[in-house]
Chain length 663, copies 2
């Protein structure tokens, strides 16, 4: 099914050459940004000392985490090779490697950009914003480029998108460990640091006296940065391969164009993202969120124009409506997420108000807000799927997903920006920078919280929309005519599938609890046994806390990850392909809903707490209640929720590969 | 399709006569128990004063609630009559009336049994246990009898189980309002009373100085008693009708026996329950839970023997395995629920342990436990469905559901026992009864908490197992060959269906928050403005608090209830029958999972708090953290969770009726 056998060879070859060239350009642009960020001045020795501690901690974790992932991945690769042949084994290994590289680049740039952002904040807001944003963009472009290049090259090599599903599975597999392990690390450290520091000792966040503060700052890098990088790497990879497989089914209608459209759509997205970079600028007293919105709007418009030419030339005009449905859905979900997680709107304000009657009502309201927040995004996704299908048929749903993913590069940059500014704020706080500087890093940090929430909403929207696409690919590969839920085995499959995200989330949340518990014990021990620590006369043992996070998170990430891999295989082998398809649907639907509830609920709790801090009511009873809500939200929004994105897509790629065993 | 046209008339007629007779016997037994309870002595004037206040408050609520339900039901009945004909309209109205009567009987007996239980506790544990248990049993037998009698008579009248679906829908409709309105009432009052009483003023639960204490005690009756009565009335009614419809499809195989088996299975359950009553006795220093377990075991064994004769005579022997699968599943789910919600096992102990690091970790662990608690019950249900299907085919799954429902009468009695003992404890506390008496009511109250948790687990297990049955009935009536989730409209239907329980729970939880907020303001006002209240010199204005709960809960119950009715109709009319079927599955699966998470999580939080109280650590920081968890769990386990049981079954009966509009 390689292009030059079926179609005008020049046309097909040119298209794939464009994709490869774009992939390389994207990676080069990423490296250029990394170099550019690295050239910026690094600030005082005190700042460097802290930044070095973060960097060392992050590398220590990544090294041990990557070793663990590599070991498990090798076993899985051997199994895949043995059962499904070399194509799958090789592409799986390449997928794992590409995902780990993407995560590594993200983390490396982030641990360089954090101190430079803090230092630039001494000069002005815009300079500081640019460094942190470009640091995030370096990850975004690396992720986009590696995915596009990997898929294009494997497609040339193997000649059939079905054979490169292993690449997507490898990416998902690595992403699950990266996101889950990183998520447990970051929130175990964060919750542990807060419980003793903020609650018991009444010292501020990021206070250098807190022994867990470095572990917390490391966590931002390994969880939010490397983890999310791997997560979105996997998203675009899996969706690309799924759309190409669906393109195969439409070969009679669109020829090779249907298979290659996803690659060119992704290329268009990369160029649109690069254009968008130039529009992210902020004046000294402006809200940086405005700059982000402008950049995203430009990227969206450029992508919309590029899609017009791509769709009308490669496919048929009516599919452009499908693409627009995807683009518009992405924007709407962004707005909805902002509504549910930002200050100034009803949801967050209602949580803040309910904090006045204590932590219990704060939590009750937050749970209610989280559940409600799933409603509008799901309706938007549903309408998008129906519009795409009505205007463009089944392939239209694939085009809509491509439309939604068009801005992924920019969204990734906004996401990567978050942990960098979070770190910058921590470094500024710990090295006692001037008040004006800390105000600037605070503003950027707060913007980062918003962008992190937005990108999680986006990632979940993508997961929901693309679930249908991947599911169609499963149908195509499994050669299923229908999935009949009236069969007991199929009904049971759907039920067990819907159960998986609950079981997984339970384990992930408990893992954070366990890690935090270890951390609390250690932090309390240090405060108790190190003389002069509370008075700031002696330094705590930061490394000990980092080590606890590393050990605990690596230990805790294994069981839930294996569950996610073992459960669908067991269901598929026992109850067969139709039940496995139902399992997939059940898991996708409940995973998406739970993730939205946890991500948005957590984001809303976080900003409800900020409401009191900004109003100068820090330390009041209501603020204390809001801190409880924020702490509860942490493992939901930064560990379980984002890991569910990965879970949903991992199940899809995994099922695509394992179909032969389910028949 | 009435029996005497198709089959041996005598046989069919005899069977239905047995069912009618059993229904009447059950109702008479219920009235006898009510009379017996009413004959017991009522205790001191002080106790009577409190009990009268509770009774008056409960009647005030029920009167206004029933008026609201009647008004909305009349509109719906008129619509049903107009669109679907008189059978549906009439059976709907009868279903509503029967459900309301069942709820009324339950509440009436409960508000008589509470004071008599408290009074009997002065003499001994067994006497007190007998009164509260028989009070619960009065409700159980009334519910069972009314359902069986209603269905049997309507079946004789209409001659086709499909035409009496309206009876099930009416029961579901009334149950939704009863459970939701009652749930909002009871938890709004409970949370409001606790927030000011326990947390701010540091006075014990049920302290007569707390203005919301009567509202809280009223809540036990209108929420836990009348609400749950309506809930389980609806369960057995919907399942009976669903199984009869499925029996129609198996007419060629089993003749009229397949249609009438559910009625006789229910009759057997009633007799087994009556036998079980005699085995509930406790020695003075024994755990009352042991008596409950003995009674339930006897009921299960009698039902198993009766099922053997029914199945082998009416159907074929292999279906007995299906019945046993249901009976065993019911027992296992009971044990699992106990494991997750009782002291002494890992889940509750882990929540208690995590309370030591504050409310945030308490909540995090509780959420994790709640999510995990869904795993084993779903696996049990899945295995039961598969075993039933493999041994008995599709009709086997109906027989399994009948097996699981065989002990419903006894379970209902255990459930109704809970609020009676809760009230008895409150009356004992408020009227300053002797310490030995209060110790006895405390023991019974604690047993009641366990039985309430168990019966919720049971109710949810029934909902999960019967979902498949009702879904099969939907297939049968809609004449669908398959539900193909690869169609976009069907996929969207499943997604929207899964969303509904989230949207509904969000509204239900928020309603409790709103009601509690009103209550807190009023209680604070009374403490502030009534002189001498805190010193116990003056009495609070109980009636004002009762009134707030009444008004707020009636107002708040309307929107979520209408959403539940409107959403599936809208999806069915827009996206048609196949998508409506997917909507049904999506809602069932996510509803069952969410409900298990909320019910068990809430139960576990409750008992984690009790751990500290029993260990004499009341007032410690860890206990305060555990109180937060308990308060968070309240609206989850007593409002949203139980209402989801009703929601799941309401959707099924509603869809069965509305099918003509979806084609």
């Amino acid at each position: 099914m390689i292009f030059h056998e079926q179609d005008d060879p020049l046309n097909g070859e040119t298209m794939i050459e464009i994709a490869i060239a774009t992939g390389i350009i994207s990676i080069l642009a990423s490296l250029f940004l990394a170099w550019h960020v690295n050239r910026q001045p690094k600030g005082s020795p005190k700042m460097n000392e802290i930044a070095d501690a973060i960097r060392t901690g992050a590398y220590a974790f990544l090294k041990r985490q990557y070793t663990t992932i590599a070991a498990i991945a090798l076993v899985v690769a051997a199994l895949l090779y043995y059962v499904f042949g070399w194509h799958t084994g090789v592409s799986f290994v390449l997928g794992v490697i590409a995902s780990l590289i993407a995560g590594f680049i993200g983390m490396d740039v982030a641990t360089r950009a954090n101190i430079r952002t803090a230092n630039a904040a001494r000069k002005g807001l815009n300079k500081s914003l640019r460094i942190s944003f470009l640091g995030g963009m370096a990850m975004g472009l690396a992720v986009m480029g590696l995915s596009l290049l990997g898929i294009s090259l494997l497609y040339i090599w193997f000649g059939d998108p079905k054979l490169i599903v292993g690449f997507g599975f490898g990416a998902s597999f690595a992403a699950l460990f990266a996101q889950l392990g990183g998520g447990i690390y970051t929130k175990g450290a964060d919750v542990g640091a807060d419980l003793v520091g903020k609650v018991e000792k009444n010292i501020p966040e990021d206070d250098p006296r807190n022994p867990a503060v470095i572990a917390d700052l490391v966590g931002d890098n390994v969880g939010d940065e490397a983890g999310r990088g791997a997560d979105l790497f996997e998203s675009i990879t899996a969706e690309n391969i799924g759309a190409m497989i669906l393109g195969l089914a439409f070969f009679p209608q669109f020829g090779i164009n249907g298979v290659l459209f996803p690659l060119l759509a992704r290329s268009a997205g990369i160029y649109a993202t690069i254009v968008g970079i130039f529009f992210v600028n902020v004046k000294e007293n402006e809200d940086p969120m405005k700059a982000m919105r402008t950049g995203l709007a430009v990227t969206t418009i450029v992508a919309a124009v590029a899609f017009y030419f791509l769709v009308t030339n490669m496919l048929t005009f009516n599919l452009y409506y499908s693409a627009l449905a995807g683009l518009v859905a992405a924007l709407l979900i962004g707005y909805i997420t902002e509504y549910y997680t930002s200050r100034g709107y009803r949801p967050v304000e209602s949580i803040a108000k309910s904090s006045e009657t204590g932590p219990a009502t704060n939590i009750i309201t937050g749970i209610s807000v989280g559940m409600e927040s799933a409603v509008l995004p799901i309706i938007v996704i549903s309408v998008a799927i129906l519009v795409a299908y009505i205007t463009g048929g089944l392939y239209g749903t694939a085009v809509a997903t491509m439309g939604m993913l068009a801005t992924t590069g920019f969204v990734l940059a906004m996401d990567g920006f978050g942990p960098i500014t979070d770190n910058a704020g921590g470094i500024a706080e710990m090295s006692n920078l001037e008040k004006a500087t800390r105000k600037r890093t605070d503003i950027l940090d707060s913007t980062g919280n918003t962008t992190k929430a937005l990108t999680k909403g986006y990632a979940m929207g993508v997961a929901a929309l693309s679930a249908f696409l991947l599911f169609s690919a499963y149908f195509e590969v499994a050669n299923l005519a229908v999935i009949d839920v009236a069969k007991p085995s199929v009904f049971v499959g759907a039920f067990l599938g819907a159960l998986l995200p609950f079981a997984f989330s339970s384990l992930a949340i408990r893992a954070v609890g366990n890690t935090a518990f270890e951390m609390v014990k250690e932090v309390r021990r240090q405060f108790r046994t190190i003389p002069g620590l509370m008075q700031g006369k002696t330094k705590p043992d930061y490394a000990k806390c980092v080590d606890i996070s590393v050990r605990s998170s690596l230990k805790e990430m294994v069981l839930p990850s294996l569950l996610v891999v073992a459960a669908p295989v067991a269901v598929g082998m026992l109850l067969k392909a139709e039940a496995a398809g139902a399992f997939l649907i059940g898991a996708t639907i409940s995973g998406v809903l739970l993730a939205m509830m946890m991500n948005n609920g957590g984001g809303a709790w976080d900003n409800a707490k900020k409401t009191f801090e900004i109003a100068g009511k820090k330390g009041s009873e209501a603020h204390k209640a809001a801190v409880v809500g924020d702490t509860v939200g942490d493992p939901l929004k930064d560990t379980a929720g984002p890991s569910l994105h990965v879970l949903v897509k991992l199940l899809n790629t995994l099922s695509l590969i394992f179909i032969p065993l389910f028949l």
